[in-house]
Amino acid sequence: MSLLNLIKIALKALQRNKLRAFLTMLGIIIGVGSVIVMIAIGQGSKQSIHDQLSNMGTNMITVQPASNLAGGVRIAGASFQTLTIKDIVALKANAEYITEISPGVTARGQAINGALNWPTQMAGASPEYLDIRKLSLRDGVPFSNNDVITSAKVCLIGHTVVDNLFPNGENPIGKVIRFGNIPFQIIGVLAPKGFNAFGQDQDDILVAPYTTVQKRILATIYYTGIYASATNEQATDAAVNEMTQILRQSHRLTATEDNDFTVRTQQELIATLSSTSSLLTVLLTVVAGISLVIGGIGIMNIMYVSVTERTKEIGLRMSIGARGRDILMQFLMEAVIISITGGIIGVLLGFVATQIVTMTLKWPTIISESSVVLSFVVCAMTGIFFGYYPAQKASKLDPIEALRYE
């Protein structure tokens, strides 16, 4: 029997019981639809994390003191004091792949404006920091190198801090607030950045010259980190190698000693986060895959009933010349048509449902081609797999018995 005839026979058989065919399809439709929606949500959140990090500057490189052994005990890196002005000077003098560099020190404390106060952190940095972190000012001016040299008591203020210290909408520019015991004059307001992927409020910050934070607040000569920009995103790896070499020299490390600092790029961060959301995608896919399997079992169930119910038809077809193989192929084809049609409807449903999710829940979603192809292939396989057994049962029937079946 030719394939065309086979498809024709199977289609006609399905047409004779449209409702049952549709109900069988429903399992596959929901299965495929949910695979697509789930993967779209997973991919969407992955992309949004990536976008958020790009907004932070994907060519940003951070150096932090490394964790190290102290008498056999591992000490957290941040408490180490290895980064100093010497490193900045060395990097500025020798690095080719980095364009801008800023030391970083952070201090936690209470920001106070009259009777109002707010716990926040102050980042000490050089003027380049704004560029490196892709921060911009909504109002006012940034501090200058001169402010750094003089350890000026000026600061830039984040939006959340403004909201809490100036709740009545006064212009904070020019006002003096206290951070700890030190009065700072506000010279600029940072444009809001919102929350980052970790759920941290990026606007809950004060930025001041690093010298001011070091000398007037922390009384230290060390940095808690160094921020730099690579010339572009592709050069980050080269920049990392270069910085590592320069810092090793600057710290006079011998070849056998471990680095006493770590250099991180945002790409690593992106990879870490992507793998987290990949895990999410896998999880969602597994859930959706289970529904696809259940859909397949639905097909098998209906095909079984169908074979029993149509025993007489099978007997007739055999008596007029259908071979066992023809019967097998017919029932298999019916299962495949059900699953492929269900697959197509499921894909469409997936697209629609994804749009609905995006519109109503405002979740970012991305429909990837691979998820469409994958779910489609899986559902066709499901059809063949679950359709085979009942079809084989049908093909093995004895025509005499089948004809007499009531």
Partner: protein
Amino acid sequence: MSKNILEIRDLKRDFVMGSETVHALNGVSFDVSAGDFITIMGSSGSGKTTLLNILGCLDKPTAGSYLLDGVDVKKLSRDELANLRNRKIGFVFQAYNLLPRTTAIENVELPLLYNKAINSAERRERAMRALEAVKLSDRFDHTPSQLSGGQQQRVAIARALVNEPVMILADEATGNLDSRTSYEIMALVQELNSQQGKTIVFVTHEPDIASFSDRTIQLHDGHVQKDILNEHKRSATEVLAALPPKDSV
């Protein structure tokens, strides 16, 4: 002498039921030549159905030989038997066995779907011709539920004709019909036999029906009890004409 379509020699069919062996057919021999119209009669348990299954290539004999149009059925595989049924035999069943919710013409086309050599245009044309032969071409798009019993059986006969078989094998084909419709069907069968020269093997238990055929083979306990030529073959058309008009029934 015309060619033999069926050659049956000492045909035996045993069924093993637990420890007992049942001899359903116990040495049956006869020939049917092309253009014959024979009826096979017998009471229940006479081996009628078993013989029919073997004649229809649905079953194989335990012993003896069965040549259908020169082909020794005993040597064929399951698939080859299916092919033989497709090309050489037209079945007509007691319960019509039409596919439900399927139009008459699609039902008639069915055997041709299993014949690769025939394309869809030819299939439709031959199905239409078969329906014309049973005078139902105007009902080609009706489904079985829209047809009367007699019409359904005529569709089934068209389905048996469509593959141009060497033999039409009817199993109690009038069993579900009233006598008037039975005669109509028999008139059609006689017409196919006399005008188109179709070989017809008609299994029945009604002597009334058997009287329309050329020859009757009577089975009893797995043997041929009688094999007689009907000297007084009746014409179903005449019998029909002799019946009181439909309205008065």
